[in-house]
Symmetry: C2
Subunit: 335 residues, 2 copies
């Protein structure tokens, strides 16, 4: 059976911000799965800041999306045809299925998910890559221990909203940085001990951090880079760990990035700054999902999703991500 497969392809690499010219809408027929493959129908797509990095020319931790290819994205959906024993028809799965309605997969990097435990968007957020990023970033890279003062930037985002809860549920004092009073109020509901609105007029972020963390920052989980990273570096405690998860403030930079002028605070405070990529933890995902799912099942781990409807809206959804419009996890519902 030949199906029309609506999809977004990368039309041209953006210089700076993504524009309408970046994307091209196509409808193409879907092939039948070969032996060892299956066909998935995406129901939701994940929108992640990391996608901006995949549009550049340079090889980063993952190859760039080639011009002309279907845009890379994590999807969640249902297997509708299968010649793969592990993923039978009816199974729910997540994986790098791309910005399209239908995808053929050989199962590599695909996770089976249980929609009875949590709805699909949660499997793209708290129980998916963003949740696992928060979990391994804090526990493994950041060596979080009870009693730590943990500061999270981009705290109302998909990763940050989980990171603060994981920190609080682990006996730490979590301080979130986010833009606007509504996001900050939500952070306090999530268990953040303090929330700093970086958009507040006249705010001095260094002073705000000093007030919220008078004994200094033990663990800084950075999603944004730029001035926020610099302010946090200035307020590290002795032996602090800075975990580099992202730098959304810099992804659209056309020139050189803003380097952290206060990096020498790492020496003064015998501190470290470490980068990581959650894909490296693939062999340990189950461990993270188990911990997060246990908190989710008891209602201790709260999630919020911002849903944009319609595959055609992908370009607008992408822009919304960088405009900071979403609270929690931003997903696109295909239909």
């Amino acid at each position: 059976m030949t199906r029309a497969n609506p999809q977004w392809r990368l039309a041209a690499r953006p210089a700076g911000a993504v524009t309408a010219a970046t994307w091209a809408w196509r409808e193409e027929p879907v092939a039948d799965p070969a032996d060892g493959e299956f066909l998935v129908e995406n129901e939701y797509l994940s929108l992640d800041p990391a996608m901006r990095g995949w549009l550049g020319e340079a090889r980063s931790y993952i190859a760039p999306v080639a011009v002309g290819d279907v845009m890379r994205a994590v999807g969640a959906g249902r297997v509708i045809e299968s010649r793969h024993a592990q993923f039978p028809v009816g199974a729910h799965v997540t994986g790098l299925f791309g910005v399209q309605r239908f995808a053929i997969s050989n199962g590599r990097g695909v996770q089976a998910i249980d929609p009875k435990l949590a709805p699909l968007p949660v499997w793209l957020g708290a129980l998916g890559m963003p949740g696992l990023t928060a979990w391994f970033g804090l526990t493994d890279v950041g060596k979080m221990k009870a009693g730590d003062t943990v500061v999270v930037s981009g705290a109302a985002g998909a990763v940050g909203s989980i990171a603060g809860q994981v920190a609080a549920l682990s006996g730490c004092r979590a301080i979130g940085i986010a833009g606007g009073p509504a996001k900050c109020a939500w952070l306090r509901e999530l268990g953040y001990a303090a929330a700093i609105d970086y958009k507040q007029p006249g705010l001095n972020l260094k002073h705000a951090l000093r007030d919220a963390a008078p004994d200094g920052i033990d663990l800084y989980f950075d999603n944004v880079g730029g001035e926020t990273l610099d302010a946090a570096l200035a307020k590290l405690a002795r032996g602090a760990r800075v975990v580099l998860c992202g730098a959304i403030s810099q992804y659209n930079a056309t020139g050189a990035w803003r380097g952290p002028a206060n990096y020498f605070s790492l020496l003064v405070n015998r501190a470290s700054m470490t980068g990581f990529v959650v894909l490296d933890y693939a062999a340990r995902y189950a461990e993270g999902v188990q911990a997060l799912a246990a908190w989710y099942a008891t209602g201790q781990l709260k999630t919020r999703e911002t849903v944009i409807d319609g595959l055609a809206q992908f370009p607008r959804a992408f822009d919304a991500l960088f405009a900071g419009e979403n609270v929690g996890k931003l997903v696109l519902r295909i239909q």
Copy 2:
């Protein structure tokens, strides 16, 4: 007995580069040591880039030198009067004795040294703080392992010249960055596999590092910061460790420091950047001295000292340090 004690005091905090107005020459009488104290006659003083940091107003890893106080410096000399059982008359010692001929000490932070094993200037260099800085920075902070490609900046300096040798003697490939052909030639004599002259006209440091380390940098030992740190970050191998030892290119900055624009390479390469202060390793100094002294005794660890004569020459010696005039360890001979 009252002795005239010539000394240099901090007259005024410098804004940017140190000038003649920074220092004040004094001759003051020396008191007699009290019970539990001894009097040391300095023979050599160590000149270290870190001294620039002690002149600032801000508390760093150690309190700043107060305006009006004798300038802080590590000295090497001989005990000439003693009411301290551990440091009898005739003992040779190093410690923070200050920029002066005579000093009273209670023994805190003082190390006994053996002038038969090595001359006093070596106890201020290869077998002193600079050598220990190289040793603990590489082995403990940098987790150096045989086969690593190790890049050292400020490679012809007191710390860098030891760091490259320690790396080479430990089975690593050492690449040094230094200014000028004479320094680079010396680096090759020391066992550096390659030496990059950053002052060479038209040099692109990133390209030079790519050529010298085609598989990337496993361990970068940074003494200089600035553009050099940025170039090294751009060429890290997967899992690299960046050890922050100093930032001599930035110490005289009057405005904000130059932050490393390429810091996100730490994420792409799952790498870390860690600062340290050798003073934290005080309890383990003997371990480092033992390793370095064994290599020194067999002639495998080579040292070079640049000696400037006369306590009166301290301001000039201080300037020479930042002008990059010295090769190896810069010391001041008191008389």
